[in-house]
Symmetry: C2
Subunit: 429 residues, 2 copies
Amino acid sequence: MKPYKDMTVEELNEELRQLKTEYKKIQALGMQLNMTRGIPCQEQLDLSMAMMDVLDSSSDLTCEDGTDCRNYGQLTGIEEARELLGDMMENNPKDIVIYGNSSLNVMFDTISRAWTHGIMGNTPWCRLPEVKFLCPVPGYDRHFAITEYFGIKMIPVLMTPTGPDMDTVERLVREDETIKGIWCVPKYSNPQGISYSDETVRRFARLEPAAPDFRIFWDNAYGMHHLYDHQQDYLIEILAECKRAGNPDMVYKFSSTSKITFPGSGIAALATSPNNMVDFIEDLRRQTLGHDKVNQLRHVRFFGNIHGMVEHMRKHADIIRPKFEAAENIMEKNLAGLEIGTWTKPLGGYFIMFDSLPGCAKDIVARAKKAGVVMTPAGSTWPYHNDPNDSNIRIAPTYPNLTDLSTAMELFTLCVRISSAKKILAEKQ
Amino acid sequence: MKPYKDMTVEELNEELRQLKTEYKKIQALGMQLNMTRGIPCQEQLDLSMAMMDVLDSSSDLTCEDGTDCRNYGQLTGIEEARELLGDMMENNPKDIVIYGNSSLNVMFDTISRAWTHGIMGNTPWCRLPEVKFLCPVPGYDRHFAITEYFGIKMIPVLMTPTGPDMDTVERLVREDETIKGIWCVPKYSNPQGISYSDETVRRFARLEPAAPDFRIFWDNAYGMHHLYDHQQDYLIEILAECKRAGNPDMVYKFSSTSKITFPGSGIAALATSPNNMVDFIEDLRRQTLGHDKVNQLRHVRFFGNIHGMVEHMRKHADIIRPKFEAAENIMEKNLAGLEIGTWTKPLGGYFIMFDSLPGCAKDIVARAKKAGVVMTPAGSTWPYHNDPNDSNIRIAPTYPNLTDLSTAMELFTLCVRISSAKKILAEKQ
């Protein structure tokens, strides 16, 4: 088909008439599908059911160092779990703290601690007239929700295919000492599904922030979440790179097993430098006597080692890869050549990013909703829910089954075409 | 034996000589016993091993309302867990939020939230020139550690056999609007093991604080932790009493199953008014996508209902009651009539409180340590570790086995006698 912009008014009107007939057909199906969040589907959860068997009443819940996992203690996590998560995060176990079930919770607490007590002896952020964060956009709404909640001013920085626009990042952190952090999802990013290039990571490690308490919040949520066996993104390990660059304390790295085992019952972890670790532990030792060690042990015994986890992730990939491919194929089939939108083709992670013509995203999502498919609200990928172009949409293909997803994507592309045709028609008239 | 104060110098010297011989005998045993914390012993942990069997790979991890416990969601906890903990805490399930594995963590986060965002629209505490807390003394060191960490000024209020000195509490909160809270362990208190009387609870519910954001931090850690079947303390339920008194929002109530199932892997809960709940959830929904629901379900299926939990607690009592009785008997045998110390005889909880002659507590604890028994450091039961009388010692009898505990208590009473004899001797010379 030819690009919408090259169609005549008559052609566009005819196109719209046909699209609306199609739309009514799908609407009549009475679908009710929630695609707002990137959550695993039931088949993925079933992969970890065997984890429920690794500990039973006859198990010895003692660690190799003699720690009884059932009792209090081991503030930074059991050694076995630090080793497993160390392998997962490509960090030294001694630089790792194992937390509870949510890495988001660790990030929230990290901002909160900086707010109340400051970072490594610097002024607590609550005592400063202004605190700012750089927010690569489009980005992850739950990151932005945390900084917004603390009244931290969020400055969008555009994402490129190789990561955030580093010229801008470098300039801003060098010029403005009220900029205290940047949110990053460096691998299979949310929502693009792209990974930061080697150059991007190297430039991150060599930032020269005006603020001594500037930190990179490196949320490596999808480090293990490849879709393919051989075609995989690779990411330079940031802690090591920062250390090499002479900035060992500049990064907090977060991860979890939420999308490896169970989203509600995984284990989260932090990796950071020894100096930063002191800060975290000063806080942690007042906050708790330790996190759930039985669940740590359960994870360790379930996977055995990092190879076990890698094999486990291949099973996840086998379940969700067809969904990513179906979504991409339907977009290709229905949108290619129309010049009304672009989308990413990630090799991992949980999302596909779609960019519509400017001013169409809200309308597309609203149309999909009216036919029963709820997508992530347009605007969510920007701070304050404010996408200046109203063009960005996050597609989360993992949760629905393949049939529902296919119908949903047919609907979605239909909505893209309707919305775009109307917009172009309006411009031509 | 006659009181030390009535002994002659010669008698005291002879006594000291004998005591020191005894001390050397125990020291020669080379004991290594850590009695610093109130933690369950292995036999108590074994009581909950069957909990490891209630979920396996064939289990349906779906809640009654259809929630899949393995996935994200259910921010306030699964309904079944809210019901069980509601019965445990004597609160309406709808007033309850289930958290992770640590109620201390919930308390810390509560202080932190008041610090960063304020309580129910009041000024965040970080913006105030001074924030104070009342701290009933002797009290729980981990409470004091949280308030100290936030720079909150702690004001000791003396405990009586019926709870904190309520005349002082009433007067201070009425007069001083910088007083924002009070720490309470109302049942089988830490370290006394006493429970607040009906009058005390009623007076708490009727406080007239100058600060609109004054809150009672009601840490009901030992609500289920009776030592006896029939001789049990009873505590008026504080939320209901506050509601009746027209102060529904004045209390945050905390509890957990840490000393019911596994200290590291239990579930914690908050109970509070609907207005306060809004505050907590505003925070919580940015902090996490929900706590560990599989572990919540595990607890629910293990206990079945509150009766199951009560029966379970009887087994705990059977294990630790002999330890409390042994500790008390040894103190009675070795100290009665000497007028060198008093101690409590709790009907539940995890501690016995000992009060020595003024100026002896640090010395007693140091002597015990030199013979291999590490007790909670003297002073810990007061804010800033500052016991003005240097007389208060917390005894934690649950962890050691009965033989070790008996030896430790023989040693402890010996140290009390040596220290007291030396003090009285010095006064007489």
